[in-house]
Structures are given as C-alpha cells and as structure tokens.
C-alpha cells in the first residue's frame, strides 16, 4: 500500500517536476514548503496570471517570469541576493521599493527563507506557465468546418443510380460505394410502419393502421403514412419533447435551498412546453421558432398571444441565489440549444478549443443582464368560467388562510411579548454582545428558566432598532440617562419614564412592563381592525400613532388590504425563523396554481429592463475582478468580422436574428444533425450539443450541408425535412441481417463499419422513456389523447393516462423511475439521451402495477376479447404489442406456453391468493400515504386523482401478453 501511495503522488507531480531544472529533493522540498506559500499568499495577488495582474510588469508565478522580472529588472537572480530585486523589496531596504506594500511586510522568518532560497539557486517546482496554455483563438480553430458557410453541394455521381430515390440516398450510397458496400434491402412493411410511427409520433401504429398500410399496394402507400403521421397532433408531442431536452425544460427551479422565498415549482412552465408542441405541429418555420423563443415580446407581428409563452425558453432554467449563474444558464442554453457551441466555457477564460473569447461570453452576459421577469405574467388563455369560479373560491380560501395565519402568529407573538415584556427585555439587555460573559450567561439562564418563547425572543432583537420605544433601555446606566434623546421618544414611553432615575435594569424593564400592559386592550382593537381592513378606507385611524407603535412590536402587522400573497411572503421573510415555516399556505397556493384547471394559463415572459447595460468581463469569472466593459453583441466567429453592437433594448431580438439567419453556419446544421439523430439513432456528428473543434468530423459532411441548405430553402420547414429523409431509401432499409441471405455480407460489413456509421443497414434503437410508457398506454387503450395542459404525476399510483411529455419534471429530484429510464437531465441542454440497461427497468416492467394493468387491458380489447380462435387472439396480441403478425415459430412457442399455463391456472390462482391479499392491503396504505402528501414543503410531486390498480393474479393469457411487453422487440424499434 505504501508503494501505491507513493506512486500516486508521483503521478500527480511528475509532470510539474519535469518542467523544473535539476534541483535536489531537499531544494524542491524547501521551495514547496517554505517559498511557494509565501509567493502564493503574499505576491500572486498582484503578480500572477491567475489573478490576471502583473503590477510593474512583474509576474512571480513561474521561475522564468521571476528571472525575467518586471519593469525595473530581474526579480530573482539565482545565487545573488544583492541583485535580486525581490529580496530588496521584501527587506524594505529601499524606501521606493517595498513589497508587499505597507502593513503587510513579511515576517523576519519569511524574509530569511526567501533570502536563503535565492542564495541556494532559487529552486523551483512549478510548471512552466503560459507556454502550454490552450486557446481556441487560433486560425486553425477559426477554420473548423462548422464555422464555414453552408454551401449546397452537388449531388454526387454514384454507380447504382437505380437504388436512389432522393438526393439523400446518393450521398449515403457514395460513401458505401467508396468501401464497396451495398445498402440493405428495404424493411418489411410492418417494421417500417412501426419505425415511422414511433419516429414521428412516439406511438406504435394501431392494428387498423397496420392493416391499412400492409394492404395498400400503391407506390404512394408510405408517402401517405408519412404525411398522415406528420399531420398528427402527436407529432408535436414527440418532436416537441426532443426540443425540450435541448431547452433543459423543467417544472421546478431545482433550488431546494430557497427557504420559501420563492415558489419551488414554476406554475406556468407548462405553457412553454405547450407552445413548443404547437410550434412543431404547426410546422412553424424553425427560424421563426428561434426568434420567438428569444424575443417574442419584441415582435410586432405576433398573431397568437400564446406565442408569448415561447419566452419560457429563457425562463424555465434552474434558479439559485446568484444572478450570474442564472445568466450563465441562459447563455449556455442559447448557445448549446441553437448553435451547439459551448460558449459557457468562456466564462472564466477564453475557450480552450473553440474560437470563443471571454469577451463574447460577456457580450451575451450583458444581453441577459438587461432583462427581467415581470411580476405579473400575461394571461395567454383563460380558463372556462365555471372552472375559474371554482378555482377562485379555492384560491380565496387559501389566501384567507394565509392571512389568518399571519394575524394569528403575529398577534400571539406580540401578545406574548407584552405579557412577559419585563423578562424578554431583561434577557435581551443581558445577552447583548457588549455585555460581560457572566451577564450573558445570566441572561441565558433567565431565558431558560422563564421558558421564554424562542420565536418571540428572536423577534425581540428588533429592540436595537427601535430607539423611539427602547431608548431608555438602550441608553440605561444606573442613575443617569446618558445620551438619551427625549424628543425622539414615543410620547407614551417618554411620559412613563419622565422624572424616573432607575438604579438598575430591573426598574427599567418594570416600567416597560407597565407600558405594554397598559396598551393590551387597545392592541386587541387595533389588531382586529387590521385583520378586518379589506380596503384602505378602514377604521385604522382610531388608534393614536404612539399607541400603534407600541402595539406593533415586535412584529409590525399590515392591514389586510395590503396582504397579497407576495406581500405576506416578503414580510414573513423578516420574521423569526420558526414562524417562517409555521402553518403557511404558500405551497398549497403554488400547488393550486400549478394543478387547477380553473387557473388561467400565463406565459413565463421576460422583458427588457428600462436601461439596458453592458457587462464588464469578469476576469477569471470573478465578479469582483472586473475587466473591460464589453458592448452587447453576437459571437465574433459567427459575425463575419467585428461584431456590431446591439442597439435595440437588451439586444435579444438582434441576437435571435443573428442566430436565425441563413448566414449563420451553425443554426441549420445543428437542427439537421438532431433530426437525423432521432431518425437514425446517431447524428452525423454524435455530439448534438457540441459541433466545435472537440467534436468528431461529421460522418457525411456533404449530406449535412445538403440537408441544411434544403431546410433553409424550404422556408425552414422541419416537416419537409422529415419527409425528404423518410422517403429516402436509406431510411427504409431493414435492420435485419438475415434477409436475402446477407448474413455473411453483414459479418464482413460489421468489421469494416462496426458502428454502422455509413448506414449500410438500419439501426435497432431503444425506445426512450416517453415512447416506452406511451406505448404501454396505447396497448392498454388507456391513452388520454388530450394535447397540452398542466403537468401530471407519471410515477405514482393513481397513475395518469396522459402522455409522458405532460409529466411533471422536477429538476431538483427527478423521480427514480424517470432516471432509471434515462430521462434527460434537465440541468443543462441535453439533446441526446443515454441508453443504459439496468435491472430497475426490468423490475418496472415485470412487477409494477402499471405494466400489469396494461397486460390486463390488452386482453379486454374487442379484437382479442371477441376473437373466435386462439390463433386470432395471438395475432391480435402481436399486433397490439409488436405491430406485426407472429411467425410460425412464434405460434408454436405461444401454444406451448399457454397450454401449460392454462393447465396450471387453478394452482397459480391458489398460490397467488395470499400474495394478492397482502398486496391489496399495501396498495391501500400507500394510497393513504400519498393522500397525506398534500401538506408538503412544496418539493413533493403533485398528485393525480384516480383509482389504484386491482391486485389480483394475471390469467394465463394475460401473462402471455405481459411476456410480450417484456420482450426486447417491444422495447426497441427495428
């Protein structure tokens, strides 16, 4: 183990040491232990690359720099103490050269160490800096393919013209022919239909659609299918969801620390999600889609109010307590989402690989620093009158409950203080930081003995700020009033103390006890009046201000007409901690806004601040380390020269237009690459959020450019792009390698192109979480086809039958089920899902009530329930689950399984009896538990309404259908 440890450290530091000259271990050790800490602690502040400063032209963060020195000469001359200006400076011998500056002179020991070090040859272990610094600001990086204009390439000449249907095919075939490969034969119709259906709608074909397509022998049969699928409202749900991955969509802030200062959940993020779905369904031109998401509020030709929700692209990101992180999230999302550029890397330094200077980052920083979110979000669609009325009633009740709680806690707190004013004030007096340790302890003991309320005690510390009331206590010293300003005192207090010269603090607090006791009756009246004050015309004037000031201590209560939810939140935030978390309805209000259909839909808009500002570069990312101010502008590398500063407000619209431009080399390529990814399993470039210099070269650069040009020529219509791709032969290839005796060829091809980058066959692709869950709902005929709306809980019983895209996405705590199935991490743009295989996925399909319920429902469908023969029943199940007819082998296996299970059914049922009874009981308990979750802290998932799934054993036939659900084929698209 010892050797290991040494080796470890060796590996760590070998590199650093290699840059140093040959020094003895002792010398190096001396440097590391004694010298380096002095340099880093005392000198680097002003003389290092790290700090971004080289005062007097001097850097001390490498040996070379120290030897070279600054404006006045070499800082270190090895072996020569006299000539080393560093030593001159630290010894303060020269009155014009004294470092570190006054007041921070090094200790004698430190000076001695430095002197010794120079004398011994100034050994150094630091790596050479500057030289190895990586930078993307090079011509080579600027010449990277992705930054060059898109030029539509000519369609290549290929040998086998007959195979090609579209230009896409020619590009694909060209690469195959280069390797002497031929594409695979077409997929059979059932396979193709299933593929196309999942690709465009995320849903399996219905049995009727299968029959329609397989019996349609016209040459346009597949064209009809593609057009039908593109016209389906489910298309937007599928492709909208892909976009939401790129837009890091979530229904929550993810900020679990916020201590109720804001709501944890976004009540209206879903309106952005619905906007995205609608945009895809309407085939909104992609350039327009971009502009709306960045600047819908700036557009003069916005026809549909609902398009304002597009701005959710900016606002549905994660929140914390740091505005620069918020801006960073937005820069990251814009640059990755639209441009597949990692601009966020340039927050602290110029990008190490791509031509993105830090200036560019802060040019965008200024854009997002110049926007705000208005408090009142615009209504984009109103709820029905009846639902709205019901909602308002519930909301009124919650708001009233909040106000009631406000007065209850506030009144109790103040009353408790008045009742025990003497003790509270004495404890406050004794435990002030300025008091002696003994007094403090005494104060603590009194507090404990009197069992003073913790929250009142906390709120009493306001004493220090209320000179008008507590002047006499604060200025008290035995026998005299010191600096007390009688004129500024509350008249009631002044009158009470007039003429008294208390000798000890007990006498002082006794006077206060009397004062506060004396106003108790009036306090009740005032507090009642406040709570009843529904409008500003209320009877608050009856109380004289001097009394009111006393009554409103320690907590100042506002009249009811001012108490909006936001106002209460703001006030309560200054209340003592224990009261901030007691009995409030904030989370219930948030929950109601998010889940009640009577709530109007609102857009999460942003708006420009009245005065837009430019941001300075934060050197090395540090807010306090400000560099040059950068005008707001677009990325230099994409500006075709020096970028022009934005002029309109924050510059969002100009930013949007620069991105959504045909001259932008990335915009079209990025979306084309992603569309290709979702049709073929991989994009031309396999990192869809990074097409920079670190990404691989595209597998088919010319085709990528051809399709990008095509997209732009076709008015940025994504539906036209899908159509072109899907009607190509390459899309329709089979994934099978055994068709037409091609097994040998396939083995050979697999050696040449194991990843199938050349697309000599179709890829087998796993269904993602959405397609998996949605397909189960379709098989069960349970799918609720409603498009859009507030989010639902996907993972808990009672289950929702909404499509998965409508599930509640909690960035702060993604449900286990979703992460087990590789749901996109909504922290940052993530356009490509991982596909892990874990047993929890299997357990879900094997054992979850939801999957079991699906198996049952398959058997109740008319095509199965009314089937005359077992054959028909098996065919029906195959069509529902796998979208095809079973083979002879599969019939045989089915009969063998079913024969056995039908024979054993009674035995199984008997075995299952205990099990299901127990399960039934548990399900009830769980439902009860979930019901109690309503009173949560605002972090829990929302709850659906509905029934739990019946716990009873599956029949033989149901088990058979269930088995098909578990099969690989059901989880993949061939």
């Amino acid at each position: 183990m010892r050797t290991t440890a040494l080796f470890l450290s060796g590996a760590l530091f070998a590199v650093a040491a290699s840059a140093a000259e040959d020094f003895t271990p002792e010398q190096k050790d001396f440097f590391d232990k004694k010298i380096k800490p002095i340099l880093t602690d005392k000198c680097y502040k002003c003389h290092s690359n790290d700090a971004g400063k080289s005062k007097g032209g001097l850097l001390l963060d490498s040996r070379e720099a120290s030897l070279k020195g600054g404006d006045t000469g070499a800082a270190v001359v090895p072996g020569n103490v006299e000539k080393s200006l560093l030593i001159t400076a630290v010894t303060y011998k020269d009155k014009d050269l004294q470092m570190p500056p006054k007041g921070e002179k090094l200790s004698d020991a430190e000076i001695a160490d430095l002197t010794q070090w120079v004398k011994d040859g100034a050994a150094d272990t630091r790596a050479a800096v500057a030289k190895g610094k990586l930078s993307g600001l090079t011509d080579k990086a600027r010449q990277h393919w992705a930054y060059q204009p898109v030029v539509k390439p000519a369609i290549p000449n290929i040998k086998n013209r007959a195979w090609c249907v579209t230009p896409v095919d020619a590009f694909i075939l060209q690469k195959l022919e280069e390797k002497n490969m031929v594409p695979s034969p077409p997929a059979d119709k059932e396979m193709l239909l299933r593929r196309a259906s999942f690709d465009l709608t995320g849903l399996p074909p219905t049995p009727k659609e299968i029959v329609d397509f397989t019996s349609d022998n016209s040459p346009y049969a597949f064209v009809k299918v593609v057009d039908r699928l593109l016209a389906s409202p489910h298309y937007g749900e599928r492709w909208g969801r892909f976009w939401l991955d790129s837009a890091r969509y979530s229904d929550t802030t993810g900020d679990r620390l916020n201590n109720r200062n804001t709501d944890y959940r976004f009540p209206y993020a879903w309106t952005y999600r619905d906007y995205v779905v609608r945009a895809f369904n309407e085939d909104k031109p992609y350039d327009r889609f971009i502009v709306e998401q960045l600047a819908a509020d700036k557009l003069t030709d916005l026809k549909d109010q609902r398009d304002l929700a597009a701005l959710g692209f900016i606002s549905v990101g994660k929140r914390g307590n740091n505005v620069n992180d918020l801006i960073d999230d937005r820069i990251d999302t814009v640059s990755k989402g639209f441009l597949a550029m990692t601009v966020a890397c340039a927050r602290c330094h110029d990008h190490m690989f791509d031509p993105i200077p830090t200036k560019d980052y802060y040019a965008l920083h200024g854009v997002f620093a110049s926007i705000d979110e208005p408090k009142d979000k615009p209504v984009i669609s109103q709820a029905g009158a009846e639902a709205a009325a019901a909602f308002q009633k519930k909301m009124d009740a919650l708001e009233q409950a909040n106000r009631d709680n406000y007065y209850k806690l506030g009144v109790e707190n103040n009353a408790d203080f008045r009742k025990n004013a003497a003790t509270y004030l004495k404890v406050w007096y004794l435990t002030r930081p300025s008091m002696s340790a003994e007094d403090q302890k005494k104060g603590g003991d009194i507090r404990a003995e009197a069992k003073l309320d913790r929250e009142v005690t906390r709120s009493v510390n306001r004493v220090g700020r209320e000179e008008a009331i507590f002047g006499p206590l604060r200025n008290f010293s035995p026998g005299k009033w010191g600096a007390l300003n009688w004129d500024k005192l509350n008249p009631v207090v002044a009158a009470a103390f007039k003429g008294l010269t208390p000798q000890n603090v007990d006498e002082v607090v006794a006077v206060y006890a009397k004062i506060f006791n004396g106003i108790s009756a009036k306090a009740d009246a005032l507090q009642k009046a406040l709570a009843a004050a529904k409008d500003s015309q209320g009877a608050l004037a009856a109380i004289n201000p001097a009394d009111a000031q006393l009554i409103q201590f320690p907590l100042t209560l506002s009249p009811a007409y001012e108490l909006t939810t936001e106002q209460i939140r703001k006030e309560v935030d200054n209340w003592p901690l224990g009261l901030r978390n007691r009995g409030w309805a904030f989370n219930k209000i948030n929950n109601l806004l998010l889940t009640d259909s009577g709530n109007d839909a609102r857009a999460m808009v942003v708006e420009d601040k009245p005065t837009p500002t430019n941001s300075p570069v934060f050197i090395r990312g540090l807010v306090e380390n400000k560099g040059d101010v950068v005008p707001r502008h677009f990325l230099e590398i994409l500006s075709g020269g020096k970028p022009t500063p934005f002029k309109l407000g924050s510059g969002r619209l100009e930013l949007a237009q620069a991105i959504a431009s045909k001259n932008n080399p990335l915009t079209a390529r990025v979306i084309v690459n992603r569309v290709w990814l979702h049709h073929f399993g991989e994009g031309f470039v396999r990192t869809p959020d990074d097409l920079g210099t670190q990404a691989e070269k595209p597998s088919h650069p010319e085709l990528l450019d051809y399709l990008s040009s095509y997209l732009m020529e076709q008015g940025w219509s994504l539906k036209k792009l899908h159509r072109l791709i899907m009607l190509s032969k390459v899309y329709q290839e089979t994934s099978s390698i055994s068709d037409n005796g091609r097994t040998t060829t396939a083995t050979e091809y697999a050696n040449i192109d194991p990843d199938n980058r050349l697309l000599w066959r179709a890829n087998v692709r796993r269904l993602d979480f959405e397609a998996m869950r949605d397909s189960l709902l379709v098989m069960a005929k349970n799918l609720d086809e409603t498009v859009g709306g507030q989010p639902v809980n996907l993972t808990d019983e009672p289950y929702s039958y909404r499509r998965t895209i409508y599930g509640y996405v909690d960035r702060g705590n993604l449900p286990e089920l979703m992460s087990h199935f590789d749901f996109s991490n909504p922290e940052a743009p993530n356009s490509k899902r991982t596909t892990t295989v874990v047993p929890q996925q299997a357990l879900f399909l094997m054992n979850s009530p939801m999957a079991i319920d699906v198996a049952r429902h398959i058997l109740t469908q008319p095509v199965i329930a009314q089937a005359k023969t077992n054959n028909d029943r098996i065919i029906g199940i195959y069509r529902i689950v796998l979208g095809r007819t079973p083979s002879a082998d599969e019939f045989r296996i089915a009969y063998s399984f079913l024969g056995e299970e039908l024979r054993l059914q009674d035995k199984v049922a008997a075995e299952a009896k205990d099990m299901t009874e127990k399960a039934e009981k548990k399900a009830e308990e769980r439902a009860k538990r979930n019901g109690n979750m309503a009173d949560n802290n605002g972090f829990a998932a929302i709850q659906n309404e509905g029934a739990t799934i019946e716990r009873k054993p599956l029949t033989a036939w149901e088990t058979y259908a269930h088995a098909l659900l578990l099969s690989n084929e059901a989880a993949y698209v061939n």
Binding site: L8, S9, A16, D50, G444, V837, I893, Y960, A963, L966
Partner: protein, 479 residues
C-alpha cells in the same frame, strides 16, 4: 511531503463557492488568505497531456467494456473493494467526539480570544485507548475497543457551514451544481461484484446524496428506506411481484428469452440487446437476493446482539450483508447531529446509537476477514463551534462551524490507530495538515485504487472528475 495545496486557488472555486456566502462565512482577510495561491499543479490532466483515453472511464460514446456494471480494476492494486459510508448528518461536534481539547475546558464559561460568546469545554472525558493510545471520548466506549483499526482525521474542514450545502458538498464535491455522488463515481470506476444487486445502495438520506447526475442513470444510488421493522417487499421499488407467483414468473421469463432469441436471430449481434436480456435475469434474482440481503433474521442471535437490536444496529448489519454480497458502496444515514442545545445529553444519546453498531461492524468484518477489503467512513458535513450556541442557555449546545470537523475511517487499507492533523488549541479551526473535503474525497478514491485526477467522465464538453480541480491524497493514513 508535498506542499499543502490550496483548493481555493482557482477562479472556478471562487466562482462556484463564493457567491452569496462571502459575507457570512469569511472575513475579507480570511478570504484573501484562502485564495492567494496559484493552481499550477492542479490543472486538468489533459493540460499536461495525460492520455485520458487510458483512464478508467475515459470519455466514450459507447458502453463500457463488459457493461457499465461489470467489475473493473482500478488504476492501482489495492485492498479496498467496498465502502460503507456512515453519514452523521447534522454536523457532529469535533471537540466532543474525536478531538479532545483540555485547553478549551479550562476556558469554560470564559471568553476566548477571537471568538464571540463563551467557551464551552466538552462535558465528556477522553481516555487513551487501545495499543495506539488514541484518545476516545466517553461517548464512544465501544469504538474505543477498536480504535487500533481506526484512523481519525482531526483537521478536516469544509467551505460553508449550512446543512444542505455542506451535505451536498460532502457527497458530491460540489456546493451548488448537481454533480455525481461519491457512490456513483465509485461504481462508475469499479463496477460492481454482484450483478444480481444494485452496486450502490443507500439506506436513507436525501436524493442528492445518491444522484448520478450526469453519469449514466445506472450509477445512481438505489435507495432503500430500510428499517428493521419494515416489510422486506418494500425495500426496493417494484422488487416484489404482487400479481404472479415466482414459478410462473420464471416460466414467463423463459418465454421472454425464447422470443428474444427469435428477435436477435435476425439482427446484428448487439451488446445492448444482450445486456437487456441479462437485466431481466438480474431483476428476477434480485427479487429474492435483494430481499434476502435485508433479512437480518437470518443472522445468528450472537451477531444480532453484537450489532444491537436497534435501528442503527440493524442498518449496519444490513450494510455488512450487502457488502458481503458484492454491493460496492453502501451509504447509511446516521443523523441527526445538529446539537444546538442540551449537547451533554443529546450528543451522548446520538453517539450511543452508533457506537455499539459501528464497533460491531468493525469487529464483525475483521472476524470475517472482510475488514481489509471494506472501507468504513464516518463523518458529517461540518463541525461545530467551541463556544456556546449564541443565545446562551442553561443547557448549551454548539453552532455550525466549517473550519474544523472530524471524520474517521477504518478498514480498506487505512492505517489503524492513527490520528491525522490537528486543530488550534481550542479545536475551533484546523491548522496543521489541513484536510479539505476534496482531500478526503481524493483519499477515498486512492484507497479504492484510483488516481482521482484520472477517473473522469466527459459531459457538457469537458471531462469531469469527483474532486473537480482539487484534492490531495492524505497518504499518512494509508497503511
């Protein structure tokens, strides 16, 4: 001895760590002192041309060889194969547990220089224990008997003494951004030994403490809300079929395999399709094996008594059963140590909960020959003040303190009977051989055979590692 490296040196650290916390935590002077150093030796391995492609977990688009959970060798051969992390959430007081400070006791109820409020000497006695003579608090009588197996770190420190932030930091090495948890990194690096069980199991705790974050979901901790009274069927989500008896389910899965064989027949051999078939077998076996692992009634009375028939006793016994079955990383939430008041009573009770079971775990593992291969870690998210909690009280407690905290490790190649580092005379802040949380993480990774700078995962355009750009291995506690 390599120089203590200042983690706070890089701008990245400051960016991530400083916002909104400067004024609460650091005086300006502290801050400058902490941030004065360059980051030369700490730069990314890539900067120095280390070939990340050679590292375990090199950036890769495809699945890891042998599947993401297949057992893998670390960078260096070591003894530790599994980890049991006993997390004392809440922030245990260092001066009452593992860092005796007689000087502090002398000042009790007096003010001490540089501190607000009154000094609060530990109400507990410390006794030199074991052959090593390490001082052990009277609240840990049982652990005192195994002190020669333990290494106590007395100079640990963290950045921000607020529970949620510090807990996230302890588990993920990140204060704000969601990053993968320790267990996720370990299983990502080592895979797991038992393909019928999840590789990373947590018994309680917050989701963040087990998150895979940007690592593939397979590395996420599988949480089990275990308690000794719970129904074993509820330990893992969907672990029990409520609808089909086992033997029929077996026949059903056999049918599924036949269907899968027909499906695979026509296709290119595909690792993922095969892995999926395996995953169903694993899931099937997990139904019995996982529940069996949690069934401590299968242990002898002697063993159960050794651990104690308490909640913590059962949890640590389960932890041992899990590790025995090849689970790579087990994390047990053993909170809550947030003792603001009445510390003399409540800390003792809290310590009493874990003392016997933890000592039993060490003895039991040793007796089974598993101690060398199992690393046990105990510690919380920060330490506590050496003064009374601010408001003063007849029954004092302590407030949060990030500048000094303790942790101990045992087994897994740790040098037993040692203490490492020290705090100032009052125990208020780590001063000698300071160990930052990133250093602790680096050390855990080293004990498991990893160069923490080389275990990386490519995400969002760059290579990430558990220790970010920081971390020094504390070699002196490695045997």
């Amino acid at each position: 001895m390599t120089p203590a490296i200042n983690h706070t040196a890089t701008e990245k650290f400051r960016r991530e760590h400083s916002p909104s916390t400067d004024d609460i935590i650091f005086t300006r002077r502290d801050f400058l002192t902490r941030t004065g150093m360059g980051f030369g030796a700490l730069s990314l391995a890539g900067l120095f041309g280390i070939d990340l492609g050679q590292a375990v977990g090199a950036p890769t688009a495809g699945p890891l060889a042998g599947g993401p959970l297949a057992p893998r060798k670390p960078h260096f051969p070591v003894k530790a194969k599994a980890v049991i992390h006993i997390f004392a959430s809440g922030g245990p007081s260092q001066v009452d547990t593992w860092d005796p400070k007689p000087e502090l006791t002398q000042y009790t109820d007096k003010t001490i220089p540089g501190h607000d409020g009154l000094a609060f000497g530990s109400p507990f006695e410390f006794t030199k224990s074991g052959k090593s003579g390490v001082e052990v608090s009277s609240v840990f009588p049982q652990l005192g008997t195994v002190i020669d197996e333990m290494a106590v770190i007395r100079s640990l420190w963290t950045d921000i003494p607020a529970h949620e932030v510090a807990q996230r930091f302890m588990h993920t090495g990140s204060l704000q951004l969601p990053k993968p948890s320790m267990g996720s990194w370990v299983v990502y690096g080592l895979g797991t030994e038992n393909q019928n069980m999840p590789g990373f199991i947590t018994i309680g705790g917050a989701p963040e403490w087990r998150q895979a974050s940007f690592l593939p979901g397979v590395y996420q901790g599988c949480n089990v809300n275990y308690n000794s009274k719970m129904d074993l069927d509820d330990v893992i989500m969907n672990i029990k079929n409520q609808f089909t008896p086992m033997d029929r389910q077996r026949r059903e899965l056999d049918l599924v395999h036949k269907l899968n064989a027909i499906h695979a027949d026509k296709l290119q051999k595909d690792a993922q399709l095969e892995a999926r078939i395996e995953s169903f077998e694993m899931a099937f076996k997990m139904q019995t094996e996982a529940t069996d692992a949690f069934d401590i009634t299968k242990e002898s009375d002697a063993t159960r008594d050794l651990y104690g028939r308490t909640d913590m006793g059962s949890k640590l016994l389960v932890a041992r059963r899990l590790v025995e079955r090849g689970v790579r990383f087990v994390q047990v939430d053993a909170g809550s140590w947030d003792h603001h008041g009445d510390l003399a009573v409540v800390l003792k009770n809290k310590a009493g909960e874990v003392d016997g079971p933890a000592a039993a775990l060490i003895k039991d593992l040793k007796q089974k020959g598993m101690l060398d291969s199992t690393l046990i870690i105990w510690g919380g998210e920060f330490g506590r003040t050496v003064t009374r909690d601010r408001n003063g009280s007849a029954k004092p407690g302590r407030d949060h303190n990030g500048r000094a905290m303790v942790a101990w490790m045992a087994g897994g190649g740790v040098k037993g009977g040692t203490t490492y580092g020290s705090t100032d005379e009052f125990g208020a802040r780590a001063v000698e051989n300071k160990v930052h949380i990133h250093d602790l993480h680096a050390t855990v990774m080293a004990l498991l055979g990893f160069d923490h700078t080389k275990l990386t995962y490519r995400y969002n355009g760059r290579d990430f590692r558990f220790t970010d750009n920081f971390g020094n291995v504390v070699k002196d506690i490695i045997a």
